[in-house]
Amino acid sequence: MLTIREFDTRAGERFADGEIPGFVHLYVGEEAVGVGACAALEEDDYITSTHRGHGHCIAKGLDPKLMMSEIYGKRDGYCNGKGGSMHIADVDSEMLGANGIVGAGPPLGTGAALSISQKGEDRIALSFLGDGAVAQGQVHEAVNLASTWDLPVVFLIENNQYGEGTAVSDQHNAKNLSDTAAAYDIPGINVDGMDITAVNEAVTEARKRARNGEGPTLIEAETYRFHGHFEGDQELYRDEEEVEDWRKRDPIDTFSERLIERDELSEEELGEMREDIEMEIEDAIEYAKNADDPTPDEAYEDMFSQRVPDIDLFVEQANARADGGTRGGEF
């Protein structure tokens, strides 16, 4: 949780300073959901993520250096600089991608679970989705397929109370999003998403069901994003008081206090952890800043598994342009 907090806080700063292009959606405040969930998974379980994916990546064990490089658009980022903040993916960590399309992850999670069951593998898939994503037709289709076929997948709704600037209650008539599980005849569980233990227990149980062939579970974790929807959001839709109230339930503070009370962690240890993490993220930023940009011709790589002459032609033209030449023939 501390790593995510530090990573995203610093990424937000670097973005504000104009070092990072595009959009960044920060996970600050929601750390208990991603970490609680991924801690309940086995290493080779798949996850699908969302546009707010940094926390999921770190919780799944991705390297902050390579994440930061991706966010800076560098060649050795996870997607060779092609994806950026909204699209970090690492198949080697069974992390099937953050996603720029709201609601696009759950069908992929269902698909991963389908291949798991067809191959008889001992793992599961977990799809993170936002409260807003629940309004997408393809999410319904994904949950329906998974429940009809009893697939080993968990759908975890991160209800951070808003989709962009629209409150949950303006997007859904259902009181609890987990209630929608009834339509699929699967368990729908509502947990405190600011409490890492509660999330962890719910996902552990859901994983067990999935592995037992009992099909999917729909979990709704109630949480809150401390930052705007994206960095630069004017936040016209909520007041400071509401944000302050939720900040009092900071998942990192409450969990560390609990550990300290139980003598499982000391103030000094916590301080050391924070310092180490600050250094790790500082290193990641330095690394990313100094890493190489992809060269222009790399824009044409990775489209297909095979060479396509149509694209080769464009590469030749790109190289010719880089040499100061122009494309095309003489007339």
Partner: protein, 333 residues
């Protein structure tokens, strides 16, 4: 570079973003059947700040925020249009058409025809296109070719504030479905716009933005401005005519042919991926209708069949710009 349309009119200076917003305001005022529908267009004032204060002026019924449900938005707009309303739906990023494609291609586009012409389909869909802000592949696409290609849908893509205003008004007042494609990099481009609240530009009419005798550049959206810059730079050397295509469908073949009869040389520039792109339709019309006027092979400028990558060095490689237009002109001039 004021166009002929502007010469006899009272005008004011505004940006493309303002032109779009003010046209919607005027049409909301004029016709009670008009309403706006889309994600975060109200309280949040639009993700790209286009709807702005309209929600505060017209309230939640006329400026309707929705859940994140593009299939629902486009489908509901289609159903509402079929039953007497005049919705203006915002798709936000044009890439999200993927989610709404069913209602677009099988319902909105076909309903009138399949009902034997017994209904009207007065729906407008606004969507923002294009790369340039590091938004990566799922928020940077230019999809207007798909829409312009599909029978039963009209598609416009303005390159100036004036075109934005005149075309959006025509789109809203049209009894047929019109997609209005905005390019996100030119929202702040400003220019003269008629103040007349009935100013329209007919759907299917291109505009000669700059006259020239040597090479015709047919451009859309961001490439209109870039081509005008190139034309100025080449002035005295190569005399470039720049046409803002404005309407992708219907497509103004006459204006293109007339220009080609004069110049004999043509570059077609837009941000659609090249293969099977909107540029290709312009080339086909030119070849079919002005073949004997051609003095050189027609050149296309567009995105070279890739998605729009995130990293700045990659993104700028695939995005067509002024240099690409200049190179294309110089190859054939």
């Amino acid at each position: 570079m004021a166009s002929a349309e502007l010469e006899s009119q009272e005008t004011e200076t505004m940006t493309i973003r303002e032109a779009i917003r003010e046209t919607m305001r005027e049409e909301l005022n004029r016709d009670d059947d008009v309403f706006l529908i889309g994600e975060d267009i109200g309280v949040m004032e639009g993700v790209l700040d286009v709807t702005g204060d309209l929600y505060h002026d017209f309230g939640p019924e006329r400026v309707r925020d929705t859940p994140i449900s593009e299939a629902g938005i486009i489908g509901a707009a289609t159903g509402a249009a079929a039953t007497g309303s005049r919705p203006v739906a915002e798709l936000m990023f044009s890439d999200f058409i993927g989610v709404a494609m069913e209602q677009t291609m099988n319902q909105m586009a076909k309903m009138r025809y399949m009902f034997g012409g017994k209904i009207e389909m007065p729906v407008t869909v606004r969507a923002t296109e294009g790369g340039g802000m590091g938004a990566a592949s799922q928020h940077s696409g230019t999809v207007h070719t798909m829409i312009a290609h599909f029978p039963g849908l009209m598609a416009v893509a303005p390159g100036t504030p004036e075109a934005a205003k005149g075309l959006l008004r025509s789109a809203i007042r049209s009894d047929d479905p019109v997609f209005f494609f905005e390019n996100k990099m030119i929202y702040e481009q400003s220019g003269e716009v008629p103040v007349d609240e009935d100013f329209t530009i007919p759907l299917g009419e291109a505009n000669v933005e700059r006259e020239g005798d040597d090479v015709t550049v047919v451009a859309t959206q961001r490439l209109v401005g870039e081509s005008l810059t190139v034309a100025d730079e080449l002035d005295g050397d190569i005399d470039v005519e720049v046409i803002d295509l404005r309407s992708l469908y219907p497509l103004d073949t006459d204006t293109i042919v007339e220009s080609l009869d004069k110049t004999g040389r043509m570059v077609v520039a837009g941000e659609s991926p090249l293969s099977y792109g909107a540029q290709a339709e312009v080339v086909s019309r030119a070849v079919e209708n002005a073949f004997y006027s051609l003095d050189a092979p027609i050149q296309r400028v567009g995105v070279p069949d890739t998605h729009i990558p995130f990293g700045p060095s990659l993104e700028s490689e695939v995005l067509p710009d002024a240099d690409d237009v200049r190179n294309a002109i110089e190859r054939i001039a």
